[in-house]
Structure formats: structure tokens, C-alpha cells
Amino acid sequence: MRLDLLETHSLIGNLVGLDTSVTPGIDVDVKVYKVFNIFGIEVWLTQTVVTTWIIMGALTLIALICRLKLKNYKEKPEGSQNFVELVIETMDSFVRSTMGDKHAYFGNWFFGVFCLILVSNLCGLLAFRSPTADLCTTFAITMTTFTLIHFMGIKTGKGSYFKAYFEPIPIMFIMNIISELATPISLSFRLFGNILGGSVIMAMVYSLPRILNFGIPAVLHIYFDVFAGCIQTVIFVMLSMTFIKDKIAE
């Protein structure tokens, strides 16, 4: 990052007429902690990787606790069972309404994706750098969707899947290929742009003089982290499901 946010914040400070050089600007760039060299391949240990590991660990722990508690679950729910059942049933009805009852088994996969993206978006509140504000994370998640789209297309459609590329006329083949390749790009850039945009705006607000930083960041965090984070998670999962369902031949 060449144009450092420190410059931006001193610029804003000059505009307001206050000296802000005391408060350090927040770095928007992904920090690289260490570069390993494994068999000639560079492996980067970045902030994103570390935060994703922490999130994965937390999610795995919660899943294990729920699994161990499964034995004690009763016909009549009580305590934490209420919450678990509420979450699972909401996700199940969400998948059923989007993909239809026949493909409800996708709920298993998309619940995992949903939890990972949601916690990644919300962890900006806990002073982590959201892993979804890194294109690598969003593009990796999108590639799984891309694989699923075409796997399900080939599995259910067989010949008609390939035939669909030459419709309505064979010359449209190039256009169809471009539109297929645009799907993962638009999906990943939407999530990445939303979360990164939010964190950049938050960094700029934090670099304002301290007197202006009273209460305003809290409201902005609710909008940029909680609201946008939740909406973007729902939209990502919903669009993935819609794209997959479109490819499945009936």
C-alpha cells in the first residue's frame, strides 16, 4: 500500500484544522506475518489466515459442544436445545424455499458456509481484520460454489449441460462462457467490496480527531459491520443456491 492511510488522516486533520498526528491511522492492508518456503513454493502466513484459523477453531468448538450435547436432547426442547433447533430449522426452511424440497440436502453445506461468512464479517467488531475483506477468502469460497454449480450441472444434465452453451445459436458460445466466468467474479467481488468498503470507511472515521470520534463509530459499526455483514451473508448464500438451482436439470 503506497498511499498510506496515515497520509489520509493527516489530510483530514488539516481540513478540520486540528493536529491528529497523535492518533495512529488504521492500516487497511493485509499484514504478512511470515513467508514460509516449502519445497520452493512460497506460503504466506497473513493476518487473514490467522484470523480464519481462530474462527475455524471457534466454530469447530461450538459444533463439538453441540454434538456432545446431542445425547441429552429431549423431545421437549429446553435450554440451549431451543437455540440450536431454531437455527437449524431456520436454515432448513431457507434452503427449502430457495432450492425446493428435493434439494434440501444442500442445507448441510450452506449452513457451514453461512456460519463461516457470518462470523468472518462480524469479527470486525472484535478488533480483528475481517477475513472476508481479503479477496483470497471470498474467491476461495466462491470457487466452491463455482465447482458445485458445474458439478451439479454435469451430474444432472449430462449432454444437455454442454448443449446449453451453444444456445440459442452456436456463435453465442463465447458469450455463454464469459457469463459463466463472470458469476464467481461478481459473487466474490460483491462480498469483498462490501466488507472492505465498510472497514476503509471505519478506518477513515477512526482517523478523525478524537473529539469527533465520540459515539459516531458505534452507529457506523452497527451499519457497516452488523447490518451489511448479515445482509451480505444472506445474499451470498441465497445467490449461490439460486445459481446452483438454475443449473440443475429437472
Binding site: 498511499l3 424455499s97 461478481s186 460483491r190 469483498f192 467490496g193 472492505l196 445474499i235
Partner: protein, 92 residues
């Protein structure tokens, strides 16, 4: 008379900043589109309050798709501001 020559570095940085600002004009389109979608959604809920959840999810889906052009503009602006590809081509 003084010589008012601009350093190539500063010139590229300034032009990139202007370009980032121009890229954000892309925000106009999604704004209009999402407002239109939300208005139509409200209309549909008013006409058929029982179909509220379906209308809302369809509207959010449409809004998300309409938003992508704005996000592309944002990403271009971000690249120009924080990962400028042109500054490396400036001869020293």
C-alpha cells in the same frame, strides 16, 4: 520566471485520486436501481401483505445483483487508492 514543473510521481498520484473519485460515480446507478426495487417491493407488500417474506427475499436478491456494478466501481477506486498499478511505471 519560476519553473512550475510537476514531478511525475505527484502527477500520477493526483490523477489516480481523480480517477478514484470518477470511478465512484458508478454509485449513482445502483442507488437509483435499488431505490426503485425497494419502492416496488414496498408497493407489493402493501398490495399483498401475506406474501411479505417472498417479496422481501426477491427484492434483496434483485438489490444484490443491481449492487454489483457499484461494487466494481468501489473496487476500482480502492485499487487506485491503495494498490496503485500506475505508480510503478513512472520513470525515476
Amino acid at each position: 520566471m519560476e519553473n512550475y514543473s510537476i514531478e511525475p510521481h505527484a502527477f500520477v498520484l493526483g490523477c489516480s485520486a481523480i480517477g478514484a473519485g470518477l470511478a465512484m460515480i458508478a454509485g449513482i446507478g445502483p442507488g437509483i436501481g435499488q431505490g426503485y426495487a425497494a419502492g416496488k417491493g414496498a408497493e407489493a407488500v402493501g398490495r399483498q401483505p401475506e406474501a411479505r417474506s417472498t417479496v422481501t427475499s426477491t427484492m434483496l436478491l434483485g438489490c444484490a445483483v443491481a449492487e454489483s456494478t457499484g461494487i466494481y466501481g468501489l473496487v476500482v477506486a480502492m485499487i487506485l487508492m491503495f494498490a496503485n498499478p500506475f505508480i510503478g511505471q513512472v520513470p525515476n
